[in-house]
């Protein structure tokens, strides 16, 4: 099964609202990353948070990590129609070199 599981599977919001997506994982990790995918093609790296970090910001993105609950959240503030995409969390298990992706959350921002 996938190491990372995102929820919700799909999210529809109005422009200007905040969008929150969650990710849970199973094993201990070195880091957790969030990626964005438009139109079913290549993914773009958004942000990485290391296992010893609890929160990280990048522009309108805020990522939190709770290693005790093995979960992370991605918050997009003041969403825009251009944020419409699929968002994936990816984890790199401790001692491993392979990054494992979850099934993703499909975000739709209505103008």
């Amino acid at each position: 099964s996938q190491q990372g599981e995102e929820d919700p599977q799909a999210l529809s919001i109005q422009e200007g609202e905040n969008a929150t997506m969650n990710c849970s994982y199973k094993t201990s990790i070195n880091n957790l990353q969030w990626y964005r995918q438009n139109s079913g093609r290549g993914l773009v790296h958004l942000i990485l948070i290391r296992s010893n970090e609890r929160e990280k910001h990048s522009g309108r993105l805020r990522v939190t990590l709770d290693t005790s609950k093995k979960s992370s959240s991605l918050l997009i503030t003041a969403s825009r129609a251009a944020d419409t995409a699929s968002y994936f969390c990816a984890t790199k298990p401790t001692g491993g070199f392979k990054t494992i992706f979850g099934a993703g959350t499909r975000l739709f921002v209505k103008a």
Partner: protein, 115 residues
């Protein structure tokens, strides 16, 4: 090059034929990944190359799938005797060396359609 490139961008083939998909990683990146993504689904890991180490083939779904990486750079994913369920987007990614930080840079993918 500036980024990861993949070719072809689209491939339509008949059931039973063999196909080869190519990936050119970012120059200097030692790690290379292949993933498969079916419509509306997440990424399914297929195979991972890291430097001169033996590849991690644990994600290959059957022995019809194989991949090689020549000279530590270009990689080719080969699917023999294609089946309709092989239809998907095949994504390649590369990253720099190092166990603690490995942001992956993705190519645009190859959309494979098996008729």
């Amino acid at each position: 090059g500036a980024g990861v490139s993949q070719s072809p961008s689209n491939k339509v083939t008949e059931k039973g034929k063999d196909v080869e998909l190519r990936c050119d990683p970012i120059s200097g990146h030692t790690a290379l990944y292949w993933y498969r993504q079916s419509l509306g689904q997440g990424l399914e890991f297929l195979i991972y190359f890291q430097g001169n180490s033996a590849p991690d083939k644990s994600g290959l779904p059957s022995d019809r799938f194989s991949a090689e990486r020549t000279g530590g750079s270009v990689s080719t994913l080969t699917i023999q005797r294609t089946q309709q369920e092989d239809s998907a987007v095949y994504l390649c990614a590369s990253s720099s060396d190092g166990p603690s930080y490995n942001e992956q840079f993705f190519g645009p993918g190859t959309r494979l359609t098996v008729l």
